[in-house]
Symmetry: C2
Subunit: 527 residues, 2 copies
């Protein structure tokens, strides 16, 4: 069932001469599937097909696209246990996580199907003509969102399903009316091929144009570079490291026609512990955070890598309990030997920083490729003066910063890099006394959480997953939730256009029954 080939539109293809295998980190050995990297010619074929498919796919109705997305969801489900087994073999993640992530992926596809079906997402806006206006008559203008063109999606290492082949970026782009070319993540190429086969089957069953979807394998960076540089590619979605995301952003910025790159990158997700909450429930908070830090071996972009508080008995108590609790957690397998090795390297580098104290570090022997958690602490001034401590250590690692006072806490927050999330742990109304802290945190993040943990990113309309750089490359968009469709569309205006030739969303009769902005008022009325 797994061929190791690329999907160039509906066709399996393996013209390249570079072959690689994915790796099972649990068994510490290569998987059996031999994957063929896409050739430069195959990259070009996929993009040309996508550009051709765009001509018809960009015009397909919301209802038809919804049918396509629902068919993808059904076909992914139909892959059954095979998908779950391959997922686990290529990620070291447990079956429960595979099941959960498959559910999330299917849920995302269905959410986009629901979102686009009625057509309201195009944000139809109409200003009618006024031939009597002085000094000049007013023209008729009608605006709606239209798709950008072929989109390249990079599969993520840490979400083999939900942020990969048919994950959030792909679902959003297909929903928008954009063909998608996936650059499959090399760690999950077989998982990717299975999901790609589901997308292709769904495309064929629902009559979508050849080239609406392609899936390209790669072991190195060349395929991705060719894709981002291709003149017919109009935007890029990426989930991964700051280094990787920035490289793509730079590449896209140097094109003759620069294109948008939405990269959701790293984040240390600061958690601020307010004094009363520490006084009253340091133990409970510490236990919760021991769980959040080690969840999924810390391989989440929302992992709480930085915990901030003002020096106090409560904070000391929190630190002590966190240290005790964290080493009770059984380490788990990381995604790949390279990721496990990078974690050990980055952890070691952090631990070697002057002034940093190790609170607890799991030192027992573990299986190979398992990530051994560590929590550390440092005082406020040391943190402020050492940028290395501000950077993410991808894995089950966290740093508690003990600030001298509230004012230092505020300064530290205001000097943080951009973050996906920020969390305030507070007792009842305590937070009202720390509005400056909250405002400083708000300026650095995309989502602010009250008395919770940053891990767990709800897929819903009100989710903002994307923050100031380097959390993401453009804080004006989200990577999660239905509004992520906005990354792949542009507004388009028709001036004095004949009614019968307008898209349904903008016709006088309002055949789709949309809630439209008409002369500045929202209405479902006809013109």
């Amino acid at each position: 069932m797994i061929t190791g080939k690329n999907y160039i539109g509906n066709q399996l293809s393996a013209e390249g001469n570079k072959v690689f295998n994915t790796f099972n980190p649990m068994l510490n050995k290569e998987n059996k599937w031999a994957i063929t990297e896409a050739s430069a010619d195959e990259v070009n074929q996929a993009v040309e097909l996508a550009a051709e498919a765009f001509k018809s796919y960009s015009k397909i109705s919301g209802a038809k696209k919804a049918e396509f997305l629902r068919a993808i969801a059904k076909e992914i489900e139909a892959l059954g246990d095979t998908l779950l087994e391959v997922y686990c073999a290529e990620s070291g993640l447990p079956q429960g996580r595979a099941l959960g992530e498959r559910g999330r992926t299917i849920g995302q596809l269905l959410a986009f199907a629901n979102h686009i079906e009625d057509g309201n997402w195009v944000e139809a806006s109409i200003d009618t003509a006024d031939s009597n206006r002085q000094p000049l008559p007013k023209v008729d203008l009608r605006k709606m969102n239209v798709p950008l063109g072929p989109i390249v999606v990079f599969g993520a290492s840490n979400f083999p399903l939900a942020f990969s082949t048919a994950g959030g970026d792909t679902a959003a782009a297909l929903a928008a009316g954009c063909p998608v070319i996936v650059k499959s993540h090399p760690m999950h190429a077989s998982t990717g091929e299975l999901v790609a086969s589901a997308v292709i089957k769904a495309a064929q069953n629902t009559g979508m144009p050849h080239g609406v979807f392609s899936n390209l394998n790669s072991s190195g960076i060349e395929v991705g570079q060719l894709l981002v540089q291709h003149p017919k590619v109009k935007a890029v979605g990426f989930t991964g490291s700051i280094k990787g995301g920035r490289a793509l952003l730079d590449l896209a910025a140097k094109r003759e026609e620069p294109i948008p790159v939405f990269a959701e990158m790293g984040s240390v997700n600061p958690v601020v512990l307010l004094p009363k909450s520490l006084n009253n429930r340091a133990e409970a908070i510490a236990k919760t955070y021991a769980g959040s830090i080690t969840l999924g071996a810390g391989q989440f972009c929302t992992n709480p890598g930085l915990i901030l508080g003002v020096k106090s008995q409560g904070l000391t108590h929190f630190i002590n309990v966190l240290a005790q609790e964290i080493i009770k957690v059984e380490p788990s397998c990381m995604l790949h030997p390279n990721i496990a090795a990078a974690y050990e390297r980055n952890k070691k580098k952090a631990l070697s920083q002057k002034g940093l104290e190790v609170l607890a570090s799991y030192e027992n022997e573990v299986n190979i490729n398992y990530g051994r958690q560590a929590v550390t602490t440092v005082d406020g001034s040391t943190f402020l003066n050492n940028p290395t401590l501000h950077h993410e250590v991808f894995g089950p690692f966290s740093l508690v910063v003990q600030c001298e006072n509230e004012s230092q806490l505020e300064i530290i927050i205001s000097k943080l890099e951009g973050q996906l999330t920020g969390t305030i742990i507070s007792d009842n109304n305590e937070v009202s006394d720390y509005i400056n802290i909250v405002n400083a945190l708000q300026n650095r993040v995309g989502r602010i959480i009250f008395n919770g943990v940053p891990t767990g990113v709800e897929v819903c309309a009100s989710m903002q997953h994307g923050g100031p750089y380097p959390a993401s490359t453009d804080s004006r968009f989200t990577a999660v939730g239905v509004d992520s469709i906005k990354r792949w569309v542009r507004p388009f205006s028709y001036q004095d256009w004949p009614n019968n030739l307008l898209p349904d969303a903008l016709k006088n009769e309002n055949p789709l029954g949309l809630l439209r902005k008409v002369n500045n008022f929202k209405t479902t009325a006809k013109i």
Copy 2:
């Protein structure tokens, strides 16, 4: 009244040692006002003040910001004839245009005041919690738009009021809750200072924080570069040449923290003449276009620089009438000797291209700095093979491309660079037979016009002014109309946040009475 100084927040300041004068192109001599370029230190002061002002200004209510914008409009009007006189002296544009542009500028400020007053523009979205959801409880999430931070606006050469100091970019940014630092256009520095004085007066009268607005003079590119590179600047708005816009985009992309640059740049605004319309009314179309090409000495980003048709008797007739009509128009003064010289240079370059035929060129003696119009023609293959002919000649210039057939016309359209507008001239239902042409044109433009002229950009909600690169740097946004506020905001989510600490837009009680998305349905109801 004109001091030649910079506004660093509310303070007039002239620490720099570089002084320059603006130029009156009608009189062909320097204006009397000596303008002092901002020093690096003044640039820094302005940005630091803006960052400080952001802390409070970002939280001010829509009603208060609307009051500020209306006060700016009032103060601009109160500048009276002085503003109009200085405008004309620094642009060579006639009094009527000054009046019209002042009206537009005031209209834009009032439109943004109306847009933000009720608060609906923040796009409030709420997903309520569900503690019983399986397998995991659902958190409460609430999202709205929040301002990005200090914005730098570059004044435009061709719109000394409407796209400069208190023009569209500034009005949109102030409406969003972002402090603005204007890099005044060197050709209109005194006009800029007058308008800046109105903004400052309005800010003081309505109690806005010191630093919410600054206005910096410059003769060269250094001040702009310092601004775009300043770490506390969060986005940039620019209207001008492709070369200038691209330089800023590249500079912003190289920052440690890349920031969005919205540059609205050049465009040749293709006009497609369909055969029946040419057959039936070639003469009327030619007369209309002779006017549109020469309007404002062709100094509009929507000037029709490229006219496309299939070879026919009708097209020949159109060409002949256009040639006759265009030289009947009296040339007018261009904005500056440099712009007049660049026009002559670019026109000469275009005229020297192989295969290009001059249809008509105004050759009579004219006043110095006046732009003498020219219309030219070329066949389809020559156009396709010569990229120079695809580029804008800023001024009263246009090129008619005579295509061999419909298929060549479609190819030519599909190979055009991105454009602000595209126009179809059609008889009644003729256009229905040219859907491929329309679709090809739609892919290259931001706004498509039926039987009109591209000049004249209506300021309304349904306007899209911004197209695929290089018409603008990000086709996902507009530079004109209230939706241009979206360039300066980002979505922000609150998770499980206490109701009393939420912004009014997201509170359970819905105190602003907004139309909000609640659990995926639009409603004005309370939670």
